[in-house]
């Protein structure tokens, strides 16, 4: 495996305030990598440095083998290989979906087929609709279409499903997985932990400008070995017990009730529980 992004001791200060305080990161080709962290943790600053939108104070950064802090023709060649889906753009929207996507396809050396991209993001029925008539979720899918039209090797997604209904989110997740399966490396920032869990191969938690942990969603914060909570209904009372051996407890209960255990659940700590514990409540907030 080769690193698509490698970051070494990255720092960014604004005056006395160190927004990014020494970050090391390696993102491999073909993975979906999620960055989690509260507002003001340095998540956006880090991603914007990777995207070439901001300069850094110190450290080394390589994205697709190039330092993003470049200009001119070299920057154009580099951007030709990257797709960026930013947070909300709110143009006047006097162009149609297909006009906009077709126009953006002219920026790239090797654009994807416009019709295929429209189908991929599920906007077939809205192809000739003006952008200002689209719903929030449809607009977001257009944003993604514009991010992938240049057939990028690397795609940045910033809060991609904000404002989606549950069905649209599921559809969107499967689109992102399809992109990953076709070889695109994806860097995702999100506030939704279920989204990170459903999509990401690995997650990094950033707080106060530093990386707390990098792991797979199922192993983050020792989730897999943490105590499980077993709950069941005993008569009219809901009972619960924490254990590191839930299977044994369930077997014991099974004997006790002779067949079905009423209202049985076995729950491991969720990604959200682990995450909240890691960032220590809300003190990472600005």
């Amino acid at each position: 495996m080769s690193s698509v992004i490698s970051v070494n001791n990255l720092r960014k200060s604004y005056g006395a305030n160190e927004a990014v305080a020494g970050i090391d990161l390696n993102i491999e080709a073909g993975e979906i990598f999620a960055l989690l962290g509260p507002n003001g943790a340095g998540k956006t600053t880090t991603v914007e440095i990777l995207e070439g939108f901001r300069s850094r104070t110190s450290g080394t950064v390589s994205v697709l083998g190039i330092d993003p802090d470049i200009k001119g023709q070299a920057a154009r060649k580099w951007r030709n290989r990257i797709g960026i889906v930013l947070q909300s753009t709110s143009d006047a929207g006097d162009l149609s979906v297909s006009e906009t996507i077709r126009h953006f396809s002219k920026y790239y050396s090797n654009p994807r087929n416009v019709e295929e991209v429209i189908t991929a993001v599920g906007l077939d029925e809205k192809e000739s609709a003006l952008i200002r008539t689209l719903s929030g979720g449809q607009r977001r899918r257009l944003d993604v279409a514009l991010g992938i039209i240049g057939s990028p090797e690397l795609l940045f997604l910033d809060e991609p499903t904000t404002g989606f209904d549950p069905e649209a989110r599921r559809a969107f997740w499967s689109l992102i997985k399809t992109l990953r399966d076709s070889g695109t490396t994806i860097v995702l920032t999100t506030h939704y932990l279920d989204e990170a869990e459903a999509l990401a191969d690995r997650v990094a938690v950033i707080n106060r400008g530093k990386i707390m942990e990098i792991s797979t969603p199922s192993l983050l914060g020792g989730r897999s070995t943490s105590l499980a909570t077993v709950t069941w209904l005993d008569g009219l009372i809901l009972k619960s017990e924490q254990t590191d051996n839930p299977t044994a407890l369930v077997c014991k209960l099974s004997e006790l009730f002779e067949n079905e255990i009423p209202e049985l659940t076995v729950k491991r700590s969720s990604l959200e529980d682990v995450y909240l514990e890691m960032i220590g409540g809300a003190d990472g907030e600005k």
Partner: protein, 267 residues
């Protein structure tokens, strides 16, 4: 490595020009306003001031020269200095920055949309002037040559200065309030609404620093008889000086716009 050859800045610029024209034409209110407003002004001023300035030179004739010069400033400078901060606020510029599209293509697109809207505006104004307000068009080809270079140089300078000025408004919402007074004051000072030589000397001197006064004077040299040149401040049309000053402003505008252009509002 054909595969990695990004499209040229010029071809992307032309694509942007087409797109911007399409967008402009779809905003009906602004199309009507941009194209009809100069004609309305001509109708108002032409009806209020019916006197002749000298033999055979009506105020309408004088005013048409000023309105064409103003059109260069309105479609270029004013339009861009208001629209670009709006595009910056909307995140349109940041999105473009994330693509292989270079800033030069964005500028080329703006030059194209300004030139096309300006041309339509001027043609409609001249047609209305000739049909309804007794405006006479020049017959001398030399005058049309002057007309052409003032239009080209003037809209270029106006576009460049509009992009340069677009860094000044702090938000898209407030842009109009910052930009419009600058344009209106410049129009009064430059002899668009009044006969330039009737203005106080200090106003004339302030106006002489800025390009609109020279575009207006240049357009008068096209639309007024040569005998009128004696009535100008310098007693002549000062064609050479007009060329030099508008060119200088074009260069200043280009340098400033390339140096100071902002894709995002500073935080």
């Amino acid at each position: 490595m054909e595969k990695n050859k990004v499209p040229s800045a010029i071809s992307i610029g032309i694509a942007r020009g087409n797109l911007e024209i399409k967008q402009f034409m779809r905003q009906r209110e602004s199309v009507v306003f941009t194209l009809a407003f100069p004609i309305m002004l001509l109708a108002i001023f032409g009806s209020v001031f019916t006197n002749e300035l000298t033999d055979g030179v009506t105020f309408s004739q004088y005013f048409v020269a000023g309105m064409i010069a103003s059109g260069l400033v309105n479609t270029g400078f004013q339009q861009l200095a208001i629209m670009i901060p709006v595009e910056r606020d909307f995140g349109t510029l940041k999105r473009l920055r994330g693509t292989p599209m270079p800033a030069s293509s964005y500028f080329i697109g703006k030059v194209i949309v300004v030139f096309v809207t300006m041309l339509i505006q001027v043609i409609l104004l001249l047609i209305a002037g000739v049909l309804f307000f007794g405006v006479n068009l020049p017959t001398d080809p030399i005058k049309w040559l002057t007309f052409t270079w003032i239009i080209l140089l003037g809209s270029g300078a106006s576009t460049a200065l509009g992009i340069a000025f677009s860094v000044i408004p702090k938000s898209g919402r407030g842009a109009s309030a910052v930009v419009s007074p600058v344009v209106i004051i410049l129009q009064f000072f430059s002899g668009v609404f009044f006969v330039f030589t009737d203005l106080p000397a200090w106003m004339q001197q302030v106006a002489a620093i800025f390009p609109l006064k020279w575009m207006t004077q240049g357009m008068r040299s096209v639309f007024l008889p040569d005998s009128f040149a004696a009535q100008e401040v310098a007693g002549s049309w000062e064609t050479g000086r007009t060329f030099i000053i508008i060119s200088l402003w074009l260069v200043v505008g280009l340098i400033l716009s390339i140096r100071t252009f902002k894709w995002e509002q500073d935080r």
